[in-house]
Symmetry: C2
Subunit: 213 residues, 2 copies
DNA sequence: CAAGGGTGTTACCTCGGGTAACATCAGCAG
DNA sequence: CTGCTGATGTTACCCGAGGTAACACCCTTG
């Protein structure tokens, strides 16, 4: 490696390829083929594979570029010195604003696999949808939520089912605790323990590893 | 259609194929190829396509069989006359027990797309993982949760990120309300409004459409 | 004995991920 | 100038998976 500090000619090409991949994904969605991406870049497949190894590597590089932005925003929001309720709202708003600004990219981040080119509506797992509906109905029928009843119930139906899906997914994979404890942890969350818990004093001793890029 | 009420010879074969597909999925995971499924059934591909149209149809038939069970269990749990907190726990436990009993099938239900045969750990979206980590760190650092701190924080990290993912997904797709209202709805949920809201009287006038199979 | 419907097969097509082998052009050492 | 190295690029191919066409078998019914 003769040149000591001149990646200025090497990096840009990779960036350029990623930009092309970006454009291709914007056009064709997350299922854009390697051929399509290569064509968008004005080159052919093998070059992509030389740079990124395989499709997974390309997608990963692509997602990392975008997640870094969203993640940084969320980190910043989480670090703001707000009341906890305000903090929660701030983070939620940051996330929603992030996905709102680039829907195609968002789809890539959350649904990296091709997905069906036919049905647009199949956002999350089909089973989840039905569970969400059940929860919605239950909340609507059993909980007094005032004027916003319908919207709240439906939102909560999605939210709770997604919450349980993600947590259950992780639990199945890792088995960090018994099922009963898991149930307690999730019920506690839904039960407002996040609101009820006392604030910890601002930590000055240990930095919780918020490494920035 | 000469035979009036004798699908007894037609249905069983289809059921039998579904059983074979079940076995194949248990063995090879959700990405089981049509060839593999056909082999497990002791036949070849075209028969599968005759019965189910395409892979999507097969997967759908398979998921419907299993969701009906899980969904019925959740419905039953939701309908039990328990205190709301107990009800929440009951439903959570029902769901977790359901996915625990058949992990491979669960994967099929929630991650119908092939997924990477190489990396096992990629359960949910890669971006989500990092967001979950951030939330975990934030909760650990800012909220006093007592002895279960670590487990609760990590569980909540996954749970909250999954919740926001699902809700955001739905919101992006449907745009049922403004972003600000969405933020409020989600923050309210995390804030214990589910716990704080009054019970609705048991509805006797309208049946909320809990149709059973 | 046909006719029809279900079950089954082999052989093929298409498309997408992934790779091997070869061509080219830059810069740099001798 | 020659020749090495390393990056960029190409064509042509392999493989596996979804999906289909065409043909064969059996069994029931008229």
């Amino acid at each position: 490696m003769p040149d000591s500090a001149a990646p200025a000619t090497g990096e840009p090409r990779r960036e350029q390829l990623l930009n092309a991949a970006d454009r291709a994904v914007q056009q064709f969605g997350p299922g854009a083929s390697m051929n399509a991406i290569a064509a968008e870049a004005g080159i052919t497949k093998p070059i992509l594979y030389r740079h990124f190894g395989d499709r997974h590597g390309l997608i990963r590089a692509l997602t990392e570029r975008h997640t870094s932005g969203l993640l940084a925003a969320i980190r910043a929001a989480l670090a703001e010195p707000l009341e906890r309720r305000d903090l929660v709202e701030k983070v939620l708003d940051t996330y929603l604003a992030g996905i709102e600004s680039r829907p195609q990219i968002y789809r890539l981040l959350t649904h990296p696999e091709p997905g069906d080119p036919s049905g647009i509506g199949s956002a999350l797992a089909p089973a989840l949808q039905q569970i969400a509906d059940e929860i919605t109905k239950a909340v609507q029928g059993q909980v007094d939520l005032g004027a916003d009843r319908e919207l709240l119930a439906e939102t909560w139906g999605r939210a709770i089912s997604g919450m349980v899906l993600a947590a259950g997914d992780w639990w199945l994979e890792q088995r960090p605790c018994s099922r009963a404890r898991m149930v307690q942890a999730l019920a506690d969350l839904l039960w407002g323990r996040l609101a009820a818990a006392a604030n910890l004093p601002v930590p000055l001793t240990t930095n919780h590893g918020t490494e920035q890029t």
